[in-house]
Symmetry: C2
Subunit: 255 residues, 2 copies
């Protein structure tokens, strides 16, 4: 099932000597370098970073492409260079829970032995990098810094998952959606962008499955927020946060 993904080697050996990272501006992997600080290679020397780069493969994927499925043997670690992705788990009757949305700089596919715990799918067109765990392991033996980074990423993901458990288990629909919008807004602000306008690359169905709601409830709640003057909805994939304080209030105490 499923066609092989178009992953291509990034830093190819042209001679016996190790080639440096591609310098061609048109090469897609320039994008990977732009986000390297955000993810795996934080505290590496230029030299070690190059070694890591050498075993990186890259792919450009259009929207709604499955990168791997829950249960697939976990043989690669992935990184999002551009675009938005989603990770989800399914119940046998089709009910779906989206575990998280991914944005440039985010890692996915972290797994220890066995298979992936979730399915990974593109939401928009994406540029994605990946490393083979097999090759990766040989390198990380010598580079404890990479494993430390992976630990710190796993812990960060764990903290985020626990926060989401609080949301799913104990928050109302209004609180859930408000929390979601604020998370997107803060993410933009943390990157120096305007947090007052938030893009929603994902569908209402995706938002619903992320927040443990139905499409209809998500839609209705958007409408309520709009009527209350808390947000503006210039288009269905763009939210203007009109009253941040009110949104923050709703996010934690609308019970």
């Amino acid at each position: 099932m499923g066609l092989p993904l178009p992953f291509t080697e990034a830093g190819r050996r042209s001679t016996g000597r190790v080639a440096g990272p591609a310098r061609d501006a048109a090469h897609p992997c320039r994008r990977c370098e732009a986000v390297r600080d955000a993810a795996l290679c934080g505290a590496l020397t230029a030299d070690d970073f190059q070694r890591l780069t050498a075993l990186r493969c890259h792919a450009e994927l259009r929207a709604d492409i499955t990168v791997f499925r829950e249960g697939d043997i976990a043989d690669h670690l992935y990184s999002v260079s551009s675009g938005t992705m989603k990770l989800y788990k399914l119940l046998s009757d089709g009910r779906r829970q989206i575990i998280g949305f991914l944005f440039p700089g985010d890692l996915f596919g972290l797994a220890i032995g066995g298979g992936y715990a979730y399915t990974a799918e593109t939401v928009t067109a994406c540029q994605v990098c990946r490393f083979s765990y097999r090759k990766f392991a040989m390198l990380t033996e010598r580079l404890p810094g990479v494993e430390r980074n992976m630990l710190s990423i796993a812990v960060k993901d764990l903290v985020a998952a626990q926060e989401q458990m609080l949301l799913l288990g104990r928050k109302t629909a209004r609180e859930k959606l408000a929390s979601f919008l604020l998370k997107l807004s803060r993410r933009k602000r943390d990157r120096g962008l305007d947090g007052g306008v938030v893009e929603l690359p994902m569908s209402r169905a995706d938002i619903a499955d992320y927040l443990g709601l139905t499409i209809e409830t998500v839609s209705r709640t958007f409408t309520h927020f709009k009527r209350d003057g808390i947000i503006g909805l210039p288009s269905h994939d763009q939210v203007v946060i009109a009253d941040n304080a009110a949104l923050e209030h709703v996010a934690e105490s609308d019970h």
Copy 2:
């Protein structure tokens, strides 16, 4: 607020030479050794394990004791030697989500910089060990195996958290409780014990806050399972799994 916890050094230096692990059978830290394989020190040499042991502190805590609170500066890594603990997050109005229950061999307090993401509290009387992160870091520089173990623990916790997100977001009350009972049953079976009888050291309130339900719904659902002949309830803290197949069926498709 909060009295200091009674943590005492385990392997104390009696002379200039590093003392071995306490051999006194009465010493509470014998218990820690019994569970070492389950947690942090999996692939260590006896020598390295001893070094780790040397900086371990131990405490015996009665039920309902808070070990640390969400937001406290994360300066220690903890391990449960005996008893049951719970980790939870609170909303400002008191709504609570239990992130997980912990049993002997489980680690908690994993955090990277900043504070703990949750509050940790004993459910029953517990024996708990802890390591100072400061001292710990000095040791792990030389012991990449420990960091690898921590990564694998963090990933395992992450996978469990994602499974719980599916439960909280998409399962019905019956499915939630069935999944919970099966998880406890499988845990016992994995340790070579009888999975047909499950102990519930935690209160209905704790179960409710773990499953994103109310006390009443948990109680009613127990009663339903009993009436359906799926379980027996010899006492309120003991469950006999009378029909495992039925329980597994309910856990995944009772929608």
